[in-house]
Subunit: 682 residues, 2 copies
């Protein structure tokens, strides 16, 4: 037994809590400005140098579209998920081709295809700006004052940074709910080109049933390339080399990426509103919309192709929200949260200074949560964006009645934008929204009363669709006239908009007020956390770059064990065992070229890294900073980690590097890309 182990044992025996092991329920989404070096040393025997950290950070990328990515060659080659570029690939597919379904492989660099809207960002600098953001805030300021001062300061900090360093993109990131603010500066690439994308059915094998599930068999990868001045970007000083020595069960691995949002610092009262109000409303919306889309996609192949990627995204959200809501409804999760919250409160209350400053935070957040129970459904449904005709009606009213000239002008321009054609699907979607709105808001709601009268949504729909506002000429006359002109038209939809707009605006004001109050109290909660536990804890996800340590590890599932990895044997097993029926069918080249494939090669693997949506496309690397895989999902058991980090069964799911090489070389005739990846070694 070495000395460290002895000390560790002694510390534990004496009941000392190791700093690094405290508050792990807050997770392991570490920031690069505050890496948990001691914890890594204790937990993994791993010592990260600043050079290692810098290299890893600069090799990692954020996609403006909500994903993560990384440089994997010296020539600007970027690895991310297929599902992160799917929409863009769909948009650049030439007429008559379907690069999403059939895949795309550039023959060489010249053959690479620009992806409009694909923007990549590299975090080049971090600076603590907490003091600047809090400048001018005085004791006794109201929550609203605090919020608006911070907003103003934040704009100034960004503007100053832009003035000083216009080559980079600057953003203030609020960490720990506003207890800390960081100015992050990014290098950006906007000329990004598609290099290779596999077949949809290869990246998405098993479809919605297998989504958020492990064991899994998805080769969900794509490669794009950053260009600068028309030439491949020079990334030779910051890219991940390709690991060709493999990994094994138990190995330490790091993920770098941009987890989108977690809610681990939220109080019980806040989580209860999510559980009782917000998530059920959202899940019901997803369930109903997906059912309607599927109905119309089944009727028309053109609708199917048009909605396909959107529906995949909605189904992904549906399963995610089911998992989140399931977590919130799990008594054991709430019990654990309660225990942590009570311990935290006890620490605060035990110290008079802390009690004076933070003692009221939980009660105030509970008051705010009680108000949100009322206003959250209104915020959701007082939104004419759910309907094109309602949006037009609201815009007309604003064009005529807004106080500010510029608001009227802007609304006038918007009011005459062409409306989408009235369709059966549109009708069903609108009816569904109105039915759910009535359920959520109740029969007495003023806005719905104006729109529906005493009719059911289905009955009222005919009246809505018969609105004179579908006629562009009528609209032009209306926006040239006055409020009396609007009333004189006596159109059901326009009349509803006249009632709705002030109601919606009142709701907006209330919600904004609650949000400001919540922000201010949440920031206090973050400060209380620092005061009690120190600053070396993991902040909630903010869609900014994090480094997430974990180990490769199977787990108990289905009454037995899930292995740490799957193989190509497993892919062909699952396809065969479902008799090749969709979504367990194999893309054509995978059927035709089956005999070339080494079935023993690793396909997907799992690890304990703490990830969430936004981490899609993240590299997963060894302690030597070599890329061994590509994060593309978490298992279902991980979804409740949104609220509390656990590592007993939650797992990240990655595409193994070997699977990508196997696909490139054996199936997609893309040896040149494999060479660029593997040739980068040494």
């Amino acid at each position: 037994m070495n000395r460290n182990a002895t000390l560790l044992g002694l510390a534990l025996a004496l009941g000392f809590s190791l700093r690094a092991q405290e508050n792990l329920e807050l997770g392991k989404m570490w920031t690069f400005e505050n890496p948990p070096l001691e914890y890594w040393k204790e937990a993994h025997g791993f010592q990260a140098s600043q050079e290692w950290l810098d290299k890893v950070r600069l090799s990692s990328l954020r996609m403006a579209s909500g994903c993560s990515a990384s440089f994997v060659s010296p020539k600007g080659l970027v690895m991310t998920n297929h599902h992160c570029v799917r929409d863009m690939v769909s948009q650049v597919s030439p007429r008559g081709k379907d690069w999403v379904k059939d895949g795309f492989v550039a023959k060489n660099m010249e053959d690479e295809v620009q992806l409009p809207g694909c923007v990549l960002q590299q975090l080049v600098a971090m600076k603590d700006v907490t003091a600047q953001i809090n400048e001018g805030i005085k004791e006794g300021d109201s929550d609203a004052d605090v919020s608006s001062k911070r907003d103003a300061n934040q704009k100034k900090v960004v503007a100053d940074a832009m003035a000083k360093d216009p080559a980079h993109f600057h953003q203030v990131t609020k960490l720990f709910q506003g207890a800390q603010f960081q100015l992050y500066s990014y290098k950006r690439w906007e000329d990004v080109r598609l290099v290779v994308a596999p077949n949809l059915q290869t990246s998405h094998f098993g479809g919605d049933p297998d989504n958020f599930v492990y064991p899994r068999y998805c080769i969900d990868f794509s490669f794009v390339r950053c260009y600068e001045n028309g030439k491949p970007a020079d990334s030779k000083s910051n890219y991940f080399k390709w690991c060709t020595t493999g990994i094994k069960d138990g190995d330490l691995v790091f993920v770098t990426g941009n987890p989108g949002q977690t809610n681990r610092l939220k109080t019980l009262a806040q989580l209860e509103v999510m559980r009782d109000v917000q998530y059920p409303i959202r899940l019901q919306e997803l369930d109903n919309q997906i059912a309607i889309y599927h109905k119309f996609m089944a009727q028309d192949p053109q609708v199917e192709q048009q909605l396909r990627t959107q529906v995949l995204g909605l189904e992904n959200s549906q399963k995610a929200f089911r998992g989140y809501l399931g977590g919130l409804q799990d008594p054991s999760l709430f019990a654990a949260k309660k225990k942590a919250e009570e311990a935290f409160q006890k620490k605060v209350m035990a110290d008079p200074a802390l009690k004076a400053k933070f003692g009221q935070v939980w009660a105030k957040l509970a008051d705010i949560a009680a108000q949100q129970r009322i206003w959250a459904p209104r915020g959701k449904f007082y939104n004419p964006g759910n309907s094109a005709i309602l949006t037009r009606a609201a815009t007309i009213v604003r064009a005529v009645t807004a106080k500010e000239e510029k608001d009227r002008k802007q609304a006038k321009q918007m009011a005459t934008r062409p409306l989408p054609a009235r369709s059966e699907m549109g009708k069903e979607l609108l009816t569904d929204t109105l039915v759910r709105a009535r359920q959520a808001l109740g029969a007495e709601d003023e806005f719905l009363g104006a729109l529906l009268g005493k009719e059911t949504p289905a009955k009222a729909l005919d009246g809505i669709l018969a609105s004179k506002l579908y006629d562009d000429e009528t609209v032009k006359k209306l926006i040239a006239g006055d409020e009396q002109g609007l009333k004189d038209l006596n159109d059901r939809v326009l009349n509803a908009a006249l009632v709705m707009l002030p109601v919606a605006e009142r709701a907006q004001v209330e919600i904004a007020k609650l949000t400001a109050e919540e922000n201010a109290q949440s920031a206090l909660l973050g400060q209380a956390l620092f005061a009690c536990y120190g600053t070396k804890v993991s902040p909630d996800a903010t869609f900014t770059l994090r480094i997430q340590d974990g180990v490769v590890k199977g787990y108990p599932y289905n009454g037995t064990l899930a292995p740490w990895r799957t193989t190509f044997y497993g892919l062909y097993a699952r396809a065969t065992e479902f008799d090749g029926r969709h979504p367990f069918d194999l893309a054509k080249p995978w059927v035709e070229r089956k005999d070339r494939i080494d079935l023993t090669k690793s396909l997907n693997f799992v690890s304990t890294n703490d990830i969430i949506g936004g981490n899609s496309g993240s590299p997963i690397v060894t302690k030597d900073a070599e890329v061994i895989g590509l994060i593309f999902d978490g298992n279902m058991e991980m979804l409740p980690n949104n609220f509390l980090y656990r590592s007993d069964v939650p797992r990240s799911v990655s595409v193994h590097g070997d699977a990508m090489i196997e696909a490139l070389t054996k199936v997609y005739d893309a040896q040149w890309i494999a060479d660029e990846l593997i040739g980068t070694r040494g």
Copy 2:
């Protein structure tokens, strides 16, 4: 739409409840004397002829060791599970060979090896003897009288049958808890020889983790052969032909076999005692014993080989009891049982005649259950069988003090039987038993007080192991003497036995009394069931032949779907994905001959047939009575079916016929057996 469908629709529309769909929570373990012909017609469109039923019955077999089997060739070839003959194969393995681990394949008929103790039974006749069994029972008889009259009648019925037809083996089977009695007559084969057994690791791939789990990859089969007068039995008029046309998802399949025990007619009060007392005690015993065995097996390969199959059996029970207890602890199961029980009670109470006859049954069974809470732990732990030295002590006391001369004589013979050597493992097992006994019986228990005094079991153990009763000469002297001689020895263990024996005998009397009362009330409950629902319901399992209809069908699992079958791809996937680590290692011939195997062939498959322990080795056949597979397990979700039949996720798991042919022809060089199976077609 044909006329039948119209009628069916009409019946449903009018609210007629179809007889066949009532009481399916009691399951689908139909008897051959009472097959649900109407239900099969309605549910599956299948019409079974008497000829079909007879052929299926006579092709099916029961193994005296607790399994099921079937004839699969005209020459007496019998199919069953590997785990059904494992113990016997272990016993006939020649010195230096390990036929369990390495498998056994007869080169031809002459090479087949007799399996002592392997007895097969064929159900040749069924006769309702309810009237004979109830003969002489009068209104007002006590429960004890009813029980003893039935016992006496039963002996007489069997003796009469034996006298009339000595060639067959006759047994009275109590159905519906004693509401019905059947005299079953069996043809028996006692000369049974081993034909082929695969490697243990092939039949038991995935070991304890994968036990009761699906997806699954076990080729758990063996073939034996019945001999008559030294020649292969002639089974040409009753064997299952081998299905070579395959099955698919949704196909109707029948299982015939001998399910051991279910508890579906038990009342809530009875189930609560199982949940709170009996099952927890049994599960704790299994958990502790298995842990102790594993400890000593890991230390000594000889102990490992000696205990291997016993421990596999214990682990099987452990997982089963976990599933049973989990089911009883599942509020939804209890809620469903409660609903069914309340509906049943309501029917009884609504009819004055039924109320008079059966109205008290539930209350009486609840009283009995309350008594069992006290006596069940005593029945379990007042059993010197748990310890060789305690058993010897009790036998010595009986040898000297029993009232009957013949009891004293028998005890004298037993008292001097050699004791097993005192071992560390024996010590740990005894200590564990005593610890659990103290937990279950409490500190005040008379028997434990005598044995342990005020010491803990671990402390008392030294005293127990120092007993003079280990000395055979001392024992001889004692049994030749009188009671005073026993007292004079002043040996701790013997003194404890002197206290224990009367206590244990009192417990036995109480338990026997409760059992008689429970039997009598349970029979009334069965009669009430007939009175309310008719006799065409499925009786609880009784380890007698049943026919169990179901369909081949995948199910929701792990957040996604489980396919209806697995393939050899899946076997090699699971082995590779665990890096070949035990219990996911492949037997040597399966590694060496991998390239010969058609990986797309079906390996295991699932269906909704209603099975339970005892069904192991059952054939699973198509509606043409062709064998398509071999039942070897149920999934974990099926275990609570012990108490209530459900078919949403519970599934039977079978070895597919193709997997057996693949194993015989490609791996085990046993083409001649495959020829005998498949050659039987046409």
